[in-house]
């Protein structure tokens, strides 16, 4: 039987999720992202959840403090620690802004509810091994912490009875080393569906900071969703201008090149990565490409379409192209893809992202088909 406060707690969590869901659009378009904390947990700042009361305004209030310092020295350091809390109801003053921790599942479910995203039907065999250990068997070696006393003494008793060393009037059993039994792990292997996301981004001169910010926000939420659908996902990053290279996440969002744009270079590299590492009968593959729609030449665009048709599409769950508007981009590439595949194609999803406000809709475009 749980304490009633756990019900209050569940209620609070529900309110928090509702709040985040209400504000998701603002939140996402503000480019704010939950702060990862540890492996599976995110911190989300929650302003304005405390009960409103008449209270003093922050800035001009000032206060009193203790310690060294001259007039004009700053006092804003870490708020004082080491103050034991005496439970006192209704004392919300001086609290730091509330931060709530949410797991990947919780965040993803908020996103899923808000965007009405269908669950993904994974394709391919289950290929990712995951092992779980359960201590269900008995072994003759092991650490003391896993010693199985009952079994060890039973062995000792058997040995003593068999060798005639057991005295029924003085029933003392002394185990020796060979009597010792230990709990042992049975390893069970389960196979999970596995997924890989390959992000490609045009980093030529025409892609500005704002465009990259959009891609960063969007990829965060897309990863979050796919992580909630698959046990674990791999993410690979490719940047390109006239040439393409694979980079890590950090570089992906920081690089800015000047120069032309050959989208085919990225597509080629994407194909190579798939061929080398991801057998499409075992992997769910999600290539994403973001650019402002400029390509060097119609010849290159033709080449892109060939690579898509022959190599990428047959191996992928779905190919997604997101076009971020920039002042310089012509947006021609979207038109070319649209002309060939249309907007109602099951293998290719196209989305135009005008500005930060459009991020959420674009995520829905990409993930709304449950592919």
């Amino acid at each position: 039987m749980d304490h009633p406060v756990k019900r209050d707690h569940a209620r609070f969590r529900k309110i928090v999720k509702g709040r985040i869901r209400e504000n998701l659009k603002k939140y996402v378009s503000g480019g704010e992202m939950p702060i990862p904390k540890g492996k599976e947990v995110f911190k989300v700042p929650m302003p304005q959840i405390e009960t409103p009361r008449f209270k003093f305004g922050g800035k001009q209030e000032g206060g009193t403090g203790q310690g060294d310092g001259q007039q004009g020295d700053p006092v804003d350091g870490q708020p004082g620690e080491g103050e034991p809390g005496q439970g006192e109801a209704g004392e919300g003053e001086g609290k730091k802004e509330l931060e709530v921790e949410l797991s990947i599942e919780e965040l993803a479910s908020i996103l899923g509810e808000e965007l009405e995203l269908p669950n993904i039907e994974p394709k391919g065999k289950k290929s990712m091994e995951s092992t779980t250990n359960k201590y269900t068997s008995i072994g003759t070696v092991g650490p003391n912490s896993l010693k199985h006393y009952k079994r060890s003494y039973r062995e000792a008793l058997k040995r003593q009875v068999a060798t005639g060393n057991y005295d029924f009037n003085n029933p003392v059993v002394v185990p020796i080393k060979s009597d010792m039994r230990y709990r042992a792990a049975n390893t069970t292997v389960t196979y999970e569906n596995s997924a890989v996301v390959i992000y490609m981004m045009d980093v030529s001169g025409s892609m500005g900071d704002e465009q990259k910010e959009i891609v960063r926000t969007e990829s965060f939420w897309i990863n979050l969703w796919l992580k909630s659908q698959y046990k674990d996902i791999e993410v690979r990053y490719i940047i390109h201008d006239a040439t393409a290279k694979e980079v890590d996440e950090d570089v992906f969002f920081r690089t800015r090149e000047s120069g032309g744009t050959l989208i085919s270079s990225a597509f080629k590299l994407c194909k190579e990565i798939i061929d080398a590492d991801y057998n499409s009968s075992e992997w769910n593959i999600y290539p994403f490409h973001f650019s402002d729609g400029d390509n060097w030449s119609t010849d290159d665009t033709k080449l892109c379409l060939d690579i898509l048709d022959n190599d990428i599409l047959p191996n992928s769950n779905v190919f997604c192209y997101g076009q971020v508007e920039s002042r310089y981009g012509s947006g021609q590439f979207y038109k070319d893809l649209d002309q060939k595949y249309g907007t109602d194609n099951d293998d290719v999803i196209l989305s135009k992202i005008k500005n930060k406000e459009a991020i959420l809709d674009s995520i829905k475009d990409f993930l709304g088909k449950g592919k």
Binding site: D8, G63, G65
Partner: protein, 504 residues
């Protein structure tokens, strides 16, 4: 469900030992019951203000959420949780070291003595455990009857009133309260016998209104006609009312269950009020005794380092605020020293020879007696007003700070004794909350509520004020206005159910 267990073994022996020291030092208290529990249980209790059972509300869940992640006080464990009841309950964290438990026990006896003897606690209900549990039962019943969401959102609104209290109510002893209720009852009975209408008491009017209550919609949208509620029947002589919770409970167009909920919340708020008014004294007194009992009696030499470590953590100074534990203990020690040596009174004050003053010792030995007397009759404001001296202020390195708009940060402002003392007293006045009074309940002759913020140099947070007024509107169901000062200009805001407008 046993989440806590009674003391046994070593801890029980320790309790008996520490208690004997406390008795020998002259502390008096209602029996103290120590319970041992794990961290999760401590968090549950702390989230509920120390009580095992409260009304259902998400805010307790929120506090629990923060506490159980250790966010609330940085990285620290809760050392003490003491409840002002008879018997006095205190909780010990099972994972603490023996030296910690000793310190906590000694600290707890200090609190228990304070709860029993300080004048401001005289009227607190020592059976609050049961009262809180009853409130929980009542509110659960209302939830079953009217739906959890409806009741919870009403509580959300009513909680905005929690700091609209009048500290003078604490002087109303149980006896006075009984007399008043008696009077109200007879007034009602007389009215029922059909006495004439002239000079009807407020109690009677509110009784008549409560009979009508059941006819109102209890919907909290606030934008519908409030039945045939008669605001005109409210006694307009309300100027200066600070017990706004009580005013709304008795006079707002509420359903019985809503008025009852405000009553429950009000009772709980007044129960905690003395603790908010005596934070410095209470923690100072408890720290004084844990330190005395430990260093003079209970500490083993092997525990000295650990004790010093914990004690100094509790006493840490901060540039952002005054640590009540630290300032409280130092002030009690200073008073004790001054009354032992006779460093008070006209002769001492008028002495100009600094050396002579410093070595002043009349061997009075009145210190211990004096601090016991001080802990009986003061609250934080009068405590500091009376005993916070310039010498003490210098020794404690206290300063004021204020926000510098040019640099965008808070900066040390002054080490001038007069300014510091004024700032301190200001911060503590009205238990640290803005002072809000009702000016009129029939503003513009349209039954609008007019509040007045008694401004003492610090503006209100207007975002919070707006949200608060929205909640008061949901209860009063007519426009709510407030007079205050923003950036040194008098302003008048009106909330009409949709938005906050400045009225020129």
């Amino acid at each position: 469900m046993n989440r806590t267990k009674a003391l046994s073994g070593e801890l029980l022996r320790l309790k008996e030992e520490i208690e004997q020291y406390a008795i020998n030092f002259g502390l008096t208290y209602y029996p103290v019951v120590f319970e041992v529990c794990n961290y999760d249980t401590i968090c549950i209790l702390a989230a509920q203000g120390g009580f095992p059972s409260r009304y259902p509300h998400w805010k307790f869940g929120m506090d629990y959420d923060q506490l159980s992640k250790g966010n609330t006080y940085g990285f620290q464990k809760i050392y003490e949780l003491v409840i002002n009841t008879d018997p006095c309950y205190a909780y010990l964290l099972s994972s603490n070291r023996i030296v910690d438990q000793k310190l906590v026990m000694a600290h707890v006896y200090g609190h228990a003595d304070f709860f029993k003897n300080n004048a401001w606690f005289r009227t607190t209900d020592k059976r609050m455990m049961d009262v809180m549990a009853n409130h929980g039962t009542k509110i659960r019943k209302y939830m079953n009857r009217h739906g959890q969401d409806k009741v919870e959102s009403f509580i959300d609104a009513a909680l905005s009133l929690e700091n609209l209290l009048d500290v003078n109510v604490l002087f109303e002893t149980a006896e006075v309260r009984r007399k008043r209720e008696e009077l109200e009852k007879t007034a009602v009975e007389e009215a029922l016998r059909g006495d004439d209408d002239d000079g009807r008491s407020t109690a009677l009017k509110s009784f008549m209104r409560s009979k009508k209550r059941n006819e109102f919609s209890d919907d909290l949208t606030g934008d519908e006609v409030v039945g045939d509620f008669d605001y005109k029947a409210i006694d307009e002589n309300v100027d200066g009312t600070r017990d706004i919770m009580k005013f709304l409970m008795q006079n707002a167009p509420l359903e019985d269950w809503q008025a009852d909920i405000i009553g429950c919340l009000r009772e709980e708020a007044y129960y905690f009020l003395p603790q908010r008014m005596t934070k410095i004294m209470n923690e100072g007194w408890a720290s004084y005794w844990h330190s005395k009992i430990m260093t003079e009696k209970a500490l083993k030499s092997s525990e000295i380092i650990d004790f010093a470590d914990v004690h100094s953590g509790v006493m840490a100074m901060s540039p952002k605020n005054i640590n009540p534990y630290k300032i409280g203990i130092e002030l009690f020690r200073d008073i004790e020293h001054r009354w032992d040596t006779g460093k008070f009174g006209k002769e001492y004050q008028d002495c100009t020879d600094m050396n002579k003053k410093h070595n002043w010792d009349k061997k009075l030995g009145l210190g211990r007696e004096k601090i016991f007397e001080v802990r009986k009759s003061h609250n934080d404001i009068t405590f500091l007003d009376e005993y916070f001296t310039e010498e003490f202020c210098d020794r404690q390195q206290i300063f004021t700070y204020k926000f510098n708009p040019r640099t965008g940060r808070n900066e040390i402002d002054s080490r001038e004794f007069k300014e510091i003392k004024e700032k301190l007293l200001n911060q503590l006045s009205n238990f640290g909350q803005p002072l809000i009074e009702i000016e009129s309940s029939n503003h513009n002759n349209r039954s609008e509520l007019l509040l007045r913020h008694v401004h003492r140099g610090v503006d209100l947070d207007m975002n919070f004020a707006t949200a608060t007024m929205r909640n008061i509107y949901l209860i009063w169901k007519r426009p709510v206005n407030i007079k205050t000062i923003v950036e040194e200009k008098e302003v008048f805001y009106s909330y009409d159910g949709n938005e906050l407008k400045e009225v020129k």
